[in-house]
Symmetry: C2
Subunit: 309 residues, 2 copies
């Protein structure tokens, strides 16, 4: 275990929240590990992640595991388990639960899921480090009224507002419902992880209080998004429940709203490299609260093999 | 040419805006014409329209025709042509044009498009009658901020608020931009045209003033939509610019919002059978204005063959 020795006084490789938007090259590897035949991902999967900035793994979990996770998810969402109010985000204009934060701390089964070798083992290989959970949540996009989530790079926010030094973090989305093109799937722009778009505008105080419902600062301009979409295209993560989507912290992503009757739900874990632990925010007065940005992890997570549920 | 002889005092085959939602069987044919080898649609196309309630016709217009229509569409949207304000609907929360009404009256090229044999000829065959334009518009769903359009049957509104007696009208959407699953395409539930869902709730006065931005009355309940979506599934109309989508007046449809940079634009014509001309509204105090519901057509449209532009 290495200590984070990042000198915030003298180093900021990704300055952002500037007077004007600015493009720069990524200064970090995408795949930190060295592929060998023993790696938990195939060579093709590893190369695909490196090239596109994401990887869709289908049928990772068995139907029995998926059923157990869905049951637990419904229980958490029902409100019967007494989740503290500050761990919950509701839909704009309603009381329907949109997000449950600190998922691993709320629930033993989801904690076990976060530590599963099929996910965390693959991520740990890609990052070539022990990992801990920077953020952990259950997303619920209801049918009929599910709202959109605008385009953003997670790293831009995590760097600016949480103090994450380097691009050495990977998100995993575990689909708990079948996802197709029409019920607001995760959309990704392949290849956008190779550029960092420093965003225009100073970070307002307590930005996260509004940005979780509708992000205004820390998102690229229409011009930048149009350029990226034309150059790279837009893909989306479809698959049946149990599919896992891994994506790099700097891949541009978002999702449309959902008027179909079919809800979209997923468990979402952000794995950060232990050596990349957060420091002071690079472009905000104070760090975001701990439910968004784990600031003092006890240690790397203990990866576990075997069946869930 | 037959005169509309519908007796509104004694007949309402589709009562709606009731105390409670109610399902009933459709009482009209879907395809009124008799297919022969000379028909403007193939037998398979005709049967598909009858079964699903819609039909997607690809590559109907040449690239040159599409380019001419796109150019004209941009001109109309720019506002330089001086369209009267009451023919224009803007996006909620912005001044961006969402819809231009009375499209055939605004523009000679789009008038010619509406009368094109490849569209109007096919519709006239399906309805087995001369046709006129009940409504005519240009829809523009901008990139990034295009809003959703909630599920509805057009006929329910046209019957209740415009006084359209029977299900003998067909809409044609002519795509002016490439449409895929992600930029808010038209979604349709195949087979839903065979049931009429009488909606709950009285029609508020001037309902169209808000319903065009966000429809509250005249839409099915979540339960009804869930039942239909589970039974029939949800399809969507994708295709490159120049694709034509024909759909029955009672097919349940809607569209999601669009955060992609790619706008979605289409010309939209509602063809009503000449014998099905509107009478007094069946469930509203006064008919909607003429830009939504042509109330006194001079005569059937003159269908034209040949190249457009």
């Amino acid at each position: 275990m290495t200590q984070s020795a990042f000198d915030t006084a003298n180093h900021d490789d990704y300055p952002t929240r500037l007077a004007a938007e600015k493009w720069q090259e990524r200064k970090d590897p995408v795949v930190w590990g060295q592929w060998t035949p023993e790696a938990p991902l195939t060579r093709a999967q590893t190369e695909s992640f490196e090239k596109n900035g994401y990887l869709i793994l289908r049928d990772v979990f068995t139907p029995g595991e998926v059923a157990a996770l869905q049951k637990e998810s419904a229980l958490l969402r029902s409100g019967d388990t007494g989740i503290a109010e500050d761990n919950v985000i509701t839909e704009p204009g309603s009381n329907e639960i949109r997000t449950v934060f600190r998922l691993d701390e709320q629930n033993a089964l989801f904690d076990r899921l976060a530590r599963d070798r099929r996910i965390a083992g693959a991520v740990s290989f890609l990052l070539d480090d022990d990992v801990y959970l920077h953020q952990s949540r259950l997303n619920y996009k209801p049918g009929f009224t599910g709202k959109e989530f605008y385009w953003h790079s997670d790293f831009e926010t995590w760097h600016a507002e949480d103090g994450m030094p380097r691009m050495r973090a990977i998100s995993a989305s575990i689909l708990l419902t079948d996802n197709d093109a029409l019920n607001g799937p995760l959309m990704l722009m392949p290849g956008t992880h190779r550029n960092f778009i420093a965003c225009a505008g100073e970070t307002p105080e307590d930005n996260h209080k509004t940005s979780l419902k509708k992000q205004e600062v820390g998102v690229p301009s229409h011009d930048a998004l149009t350029r990226m979409a034309k150059e790279h295209g837009i893909d989306y993560a479809s698959g049946s429940a149990g599919t896992v989507v891994l994506f790099d912290c700097n891949t541009m992503h978002g999702s449309n709203g959902n008027i179909t009757p079919f809800p979209r739900s997923n468990a979402f874990f952000v794995y950060n490299a232990w050596s990349n632990r957060v420091v002071e925010p690079f472009a905000a007065k104070a760090p975001r609260p701990a439910f968004l940005s784990s600031r003092d992890p006890k240690g790397p997570i203990a990866i576990e093999a075997g069946t869930i549920g």
